[in-house]
Homo-oligomer: 392 residues x 2
């Protein structure tokens, strides 16, 4: 098996999943040695290897783990976004616009669009991502979306309970019955997770509980969208049911923070969503200081957060959610892995998947210090060079 | 002379400088025809030309005009930045750290660093930029910095009055004498502009006035850094003296807004600086609604805003400074040109310099809708392709 050394690294930032939420491991003047699709060792620069990438003193970090995306969709909503920026409020109902375009698109078209977004994410340093369905909202299209997503990741999430589709207006319980019955049966074979948008205007606590319990009975792990547009039942329900993650967490009560601190559920912040919907930024320090586990993800979707830039999310997490730079990087790597209950990604200990990013910078602080500047010079995904910037 | 057509454009966004601060001009299904380094015409797609770039339905905008940068420096201050993000306050005195590194660097080293940053800016769609000196703070180094900057732009600004250097601690007036005397004499031949940092901790109103008047007497146009860290004399002084621009404008009184509305001085907002120094964002609407002229610029520098991303600045200008998307794009193109008192850049009317950007998007709204995502697929600078993304 071929070994590849990323060599002459100025600063190697590793997350050892055995360390808990402790400080990042930092190694200077190192080589990261990869064998096949796995990390073989971290050694001094000049290690033996069949091939070498000279990092030339630049910083190397684990690839970002994006634990919340909606990459499979058709159409875009730039006009709706521009209207919102000019004063119109954000409404979850915009999801239906994308549903219409997505239902009308062929499998090939959807696959092409999703691959293009995945490639964009790779160029920005994301080496593992979760993908949700949720723009089909009928049995056939939800199954198609899960199947397309499964071509790009092994973390597919069935999100039939994204919003109540127009055909079921005023009959939300009937739609929940569809989601928990035939739709779940069609989608579960393609998926690892089930998710529900537990929020005013989407699904209430009882409906959300029904969806999650049906998913669990079908063998799926649990995820929740909650507390995005106001306080609600999402966080509490997620912790109670042992969900892997509750995502958004923009509006948290003290009870929510205490629940997160006492449970195993990761609080996944989606700061680019708060940016794009003009919601106030949550204070991630409350969760961190209480001892809760956190992740940062992009929530890439055409309505409320059309970005694949984890660096942008990290910059907001530091500037506006009050994480330190180390905490934000950890939240975007190991935190994302935990939100997906994986130990193979999000860190660079021997045996981990060989997912790493050479930053065009001497330290990971530049992810925040240089906002908006594309810093991923080389992205390594499962031991292969997936992106190499022509200028680096 | 060779003509180049950027063809099959979905949306061409032009600024006609004759229109004042009116709406952006938008043309669909167009070709932008360039001859040599100038815009020849805007025509229907399929125009005659020797060479063609197929925009394939994507949006084309004028190249960004970055009217405020400090591109020529050595060293970086990532550690200071990380400390600030962890709670330490921003202090203008950090400029001295960069001054030490810059004085020690050779001309060749400084030129190489500045070119690297200029190239990064081009990849992000900036096709014209102003460059200030100000990290020399002695006669020989300030002259060197102006000469290096003059290799990259014809908008060089002499900023000897950036901060009082350590050698003149407690003798600010003596330093102002040096700036207005031998330093100005050495730098003026390389420069078009003079600038002063009029702020508590830098130069007071009287000192600032002395610097600006000396610069004017030497034939330079006037620019001012002011109202960054608190209310102050900067805006008032800039308008009184007819400066082309007063930059930062983070803290504006009602009198400042009235002065801007009544004068010719452009208010240049630097939102990435407010981001990186944790200052509150100013409300650009106050100036816009009063009828003032505005620009948005990066302020690329290693202390308070180490970004070359105008798209990032535009996104903040919309989200947090309350510009509309059209206003923010105009501020970053035509606004920047006005802040530099130029009519040849910042728009795409026939006769303008052929500076244009093909965005990997159907509309310029995506600059804000897709924050953090590099959208400049092709950058044309003075009629030549300066950047073409390998993925586009």
């Amino acid at each position: 098996m071929t070994t590849l050394a990323i060599d002459r690294i100025g600063l190697l930032v590793t997350n050892d999943p055995g360390l808990g939420e402790g400080p990042l491991g930092v190694v200077r003047d190192a080589a990261l040695v990869l064998e096949g699709d796995r990390v073989l060792a971290v050694e001094r620069a000049g290690a033996q290897a069949d091939e070498r990438i000279d990092a030339g003193g630049r910083c190397v970090i684990p690839g970002f783990v994006d634990s919340h995306t909606h990459l499979v969709f058709a159409g875009e909503r730039g006009d709706e976004f521009a209207a919102r920026m000019a004063g119109a409020p954000y409404r979850a109902g915009g999801i239906r616009t994308t549903t219409d375009a997505t239902r009308a698109a062929s499998d090939d078209a959807l696959t092409g669009l999703a691959r293009r977004r995945r490639d964009e994410a790779l160029r920005g340093g994301i080496t593992h991502l979760e993908i949700k369905s949720g723009y089909g909202l009928d049995v056939a299209t939800e199954e198609r979306l899960c199947a397309v997503a499964a071509q790009l990741t092994d973390d597919v999430t069935f999100l039939g309970a994204h919003v109540v589709p127009a055909e079921y207006a005023g009959r939300a319980d009937d739609y929940v019955g569809l989601v928990c019955g035939p739709m779940l049966a069609a989608c579960a074979p393609h998926a690892r997770w089930i998710d529900v948008f537990c929020e005013d205007g989407a699904f209430d606590e009882e409906q959300s509980r029904a969806v999650l319990e049906a998913g669990r009975a079908a063998g799926l792990g649990l995820r929740v969208h909650g507390n995005q547009l106001g306080p609600g039942a999402g966080v509490r329900l997620a912790v109670e049911l042992g969900a892997a993650s509750v995502d958004h967490c923009t509006h948290l009560t003290d009870d929510d923070v205490a629940a997160l601190a006492g449970g195993e559920t990761v609080a996944t912040f989606l700061p680019a969503t708060d940016f794009s919907t003009r919601e106030p930024y949550p204070d991630a320090r409350r969760v961190l200081d209480a001892g809760g586990r956190v992740a940062v993800a992009t929530n890439c979707n055409p309505g409320s957060s059309y970005t694949t830039s984890m660096a942008f999310c990290i910059a907001l997490a530091v500037r506006d959610l009050h994480m330190t730079i180390d905490e934000a990087l950890q939240a975007a790597t190991l935190g994302g892995a935990r939100a997906l209950r994986r130990t193979d990604v999000g860190h660079l200990a021997p045996g981990a998947r060989a997912d790493a990013v050479v930053l065009d910078a001497p330290s990971h602080a530049h992810l925040v210090y240089r906002p908006g500047v594309p810093l991923a010079a080389t992205t390594i995904s499962a031991g292969r060079v997936a992106w190499s910037a022509p200028w680096s």
